[in-house]
Amino acid sequence: MTIEIKTSTLEPIRNTYANIERRFGDKPATRYQEATYDLQAETNFHYRPLWQPDKELNDKTRTKIVMEDWYALKDPRQFYYGAYVQQRAKMQEQAENNYAFFEKRDLQAYLSESSKEKIIRFLIPVRHIEHTANLNNMYACSFGYGTALTQALVYNAMDRLGIAQYLSRIGLLIDGNSGDSLIQAKEHWMQDPIWQGVRALCEELTTVEDWFEVMLAQNLVMDSLVYELFIDQLDQALNAEGARDIAMLLEFMQQWNKETTRWFDSVIKTVASESAANAEQMSIWVKHWRAKAAEAFAPVIHALFDETSLQQALTLLDNRSRKAGLTL
């Protein structure tokens, strides 16, 4: 037996909005669909931007990549705002527990001086790389085309700010909330010769014009290396030297990277499969930024690990690229 509450049923006159019906047929739509498709204005713009008078406000020609329909880049996570913040809230609750536990049990006291030094020199500066990732995703969001992609980019940009803040908090946990570790880490970022190549690369990335190139260089090239090296391998290295409690402070980033990789790999796969020209252009970009990144990361990685680490990260990048249909 089931309990059946009688409600009055009214016959709807349509199942969803007309644009959704045109795309998917006359049937009930998901919240993701209604909140994503065709939100961005397509035509009849009134004025050219004073800051870019050769373009319309929303303009497909801000990148060399050509898509018949930019809404083909749907998010496998189906993140609209509500779904996105609820997913992140779950993750942050877990992270909050981890950080609180670390602080309550004063776990920083169990870190050796050399581990702390390693964290300050190699992990905390990553917050500046994440700040660049915030800028780059915001850039692609504001110049990109179609809500399917641009909403995922604003989520990504805010995630990067969040991750930069979590990394900063690791610093505050080990320096007794004085901020000294952040100041030292920034010294490394600004002065330490091993970091200067990466810093120069981050600066350069914020001056690149084509938003798709910026997005690709950041979310494929940079992230493959940064997350493999500084989040995964560094975590393992710290673990091996007894600083295993750091793992719980990096769980958010690891989980986030897994999830985000799934989204971004689907984006680049769809774009590459759209046309040979897209795949070729993306391959050119990836080769260009891969070479620059390999060179830039070498000094800092060589100071931290042996030869194989960087190679491992580059292989990961190559595999992701090939899986998406790029040729390197």
Partner: protein
């Protein structure tokens, strides 16, 4: 390690703007290229006071809690046919107007704040703008979801984004936001954060939400409550940007004043739609437009401008005209839509006798003298079976794009016409304010995509108005448009309510 603990302000600084650094290897001006062309002088971004201190973990947490509650209400609303609880089917037309005219502006705000949230050189300002950007995306999406149930039972919601790009009266809000987004980053913030969010939000967002509260629309009012704390953050950003610009350099003062003048007038013109919504479209009235204007602009805005006087900022230009306009705009605007009701994507109607009396009471100086006789005539014609629609396409103001139907405010029987010649072409305006804005930036406004011009030039499909409405606007003629009387909306309502 030192024992000194960080205070909240320093901690927030470390967690936001300290993430940025002075560039050594690339030209920072190439990374932030749009900061100088407007003539605004920023001497020191570090003087930026964070208008709110919210780290991302807290942001996710609070926002997720709000979203969870909001969507629970949306689900309950749909499950229980919440649309049956609105006062009467006329009300629903107010939210059709909201979805087609206002929600796309939330989207443009998402884009505009994303742009400045990337382009400002100061990280503190960037982060505040980025949070507003994602908030605005929230607003457009939750509005679509709030209206999603109405769309299943009423006409006129279904093609809101297609309509927003094309329909004649929707070019008023669209051009407003296009204007702001196509401006430089500082003008955008003065336009939207200050003039719009701070000075005028109580006259745009709030009337729709209060209208929902007074008319049994639980979905929309719940959205409104849920967005309130976001709006509060946005308002503090509006106040910070103006103080920051005025304190950075005295040369900024005249530039900011010019923008305040422009955006105040642009804003009041766009609000004429809200005015008619409040006075004519809500079956249960919240307050009259005139009262709203007095409370939210004249009193609250007056106090604000008194505060700003110490920076050398005065009341917006043409403010004295708005004092007279509050007696007239709602009546003139609804009359325009009543006349062109065949070309509107929502229904129009003659106010009931009770509503006419309410208007007489709220507008003792003007309603009986100028406007009641029109409605009495319309009533007489309707009773004789002669509900009329004006077939001619109206001339539009080049700046605000509203049909030229507003009058001289000292003589409400005389339509106001202004014109200017630029590069040998004559341009028309509804008011001194709109003419003034044009003359300051003619090269911008000559680009305006004026719907009526475009129809005449054959850029909107068919030769007849009907073809344009059906094929270009994609309206369902006979369902989306025309008078509420005899509309499918009204018929269905009567069936649901079991009245003949």
């Amino acid at each position: 390690m030192s024992a000194k603990k960080l205070n909240l302000k320093d901690k927030y600084r470390l967690l936001t703007r300290d993430l940025d650094w002075e560039y050594s290897y690339s030209d920072r001006k190439k990374a932030f290229p749009y900061e100088e062309f407007e003539g605004i002088k920023i001497t020191d971004w570090s003087k930026w006071e964070d208008p709110f201190r919210l780290t991302m973990d807290a942001y996710w947490k609070y926002q997720a809690e709000k979203e969870k509650k909001l969507y629970a209400i949306f689900d309950a609303f749909a499950q229980n046919n919440g649309h049956l609880n609105v006062t009467d089917p006329r009300y629903v037309n107010a939210i059709k107007l909201f979805l087609t005219a206002v929600s796309p502006l939330e989207y443009q705000a998402f884009q505009g704040y994303a742009h400045v949230g990337r382009q400002f050189g100061g990280a503190g300002a960037r982060v505040a703008c980025q949070m507003q950007s994602i908030d605005e995306l929230r607003h457009v999406q939750t509005q679509i979801h709030a209206m999603s149930h109405y769309n299943k039972y009423f006409d006129g919601f279904q093609d809101w984004s297609h309509m927003h790009d094309r329909v004649w009266y929707l070019s008023v809000p669209k051009s407003f936001f296009d204007d702001a987004r196509s401006a430089g980053p500082f003008e955008f913030l003065i336009a939207i954060s200050f003039s719009f969010e701070y000075v005028l939000t109580n006259l745009l967002f709030v009337p729709f939400m209060s209208g929902a509260a007074h008319n049994g629309d639980m979905a929309t009012v719940t959205f409104g409550f849920s967005a309130q704390s976001d709006e509060a953050r946005h308002m503090t950003l509006g106040l910070e940007i103006i103080k920051f610009l005025l304190e950075q350099h005295e040369d900024n003062v005249p530039i900011v004043q010019k923008w305040i003048d422009k955006w105040f007038w642009r804003g009041t013109r766009m609000l004429s739609v809200v005015a008619m919504m409040m006075d004519y479209m809500l079956p249960n009235k919240v307050m009259s437009w005139k009262e709203a204007w007095e409370v939210y602009f004249e009193e609250a805005g007056g106090a604000l401008f008194k505060d700003l006087a110490r920076y050398g900022i005065r009341m917006p230009k043409f403010v004295e005209i708005t004092e007279k306009e509050k007696e007239h705009v709602s009546h003139q605007a609804w009359w325009i839509f009543y006349n062109h009701g065949h070309a509107a994507g929502f229904h129009t109607w003659i106010p009931s006798d009770q509503e006419l009396d309410w208007l007489s009471e709220k507008y003792p100086e003007t309603f009986d003298k100028y406007y009641r006789p029109r409605w009495e005539l319309a009533k007489k014609l309707e009773a004789e079976g002669k509900r009329f629609y004006t077939q001619a396409l109206p001339q539009l103001c080049t700046t605000c794009q509203i049909p030229m139907g507003f009058t001289e405010m000292d003589d409400p029987t005389q339509i106001a016409y202004r014109d200017s010649v630029y590069n040998g072409e004559r341009y028309h305006f509804c008011s001194d304010g709109c003419q003034h804005i044009f003359e300051d930036e003619p090269e911008k406004y000559v680009q305006s995509w004026l719907p009526v011009h475009q129809i005449y030039q054959g850029n909107c499909g068919g030769a007849s108005v009907e073809e344009v409405l059906r094929d270009y606007y994609q309206m369902n003629l006979g369902a989306d448009n025309l008078d509420i009387k005899g509309s499918p909306d009204e018929q269905r309502w009567k069936e649901w309510k079991g009245v003949a």
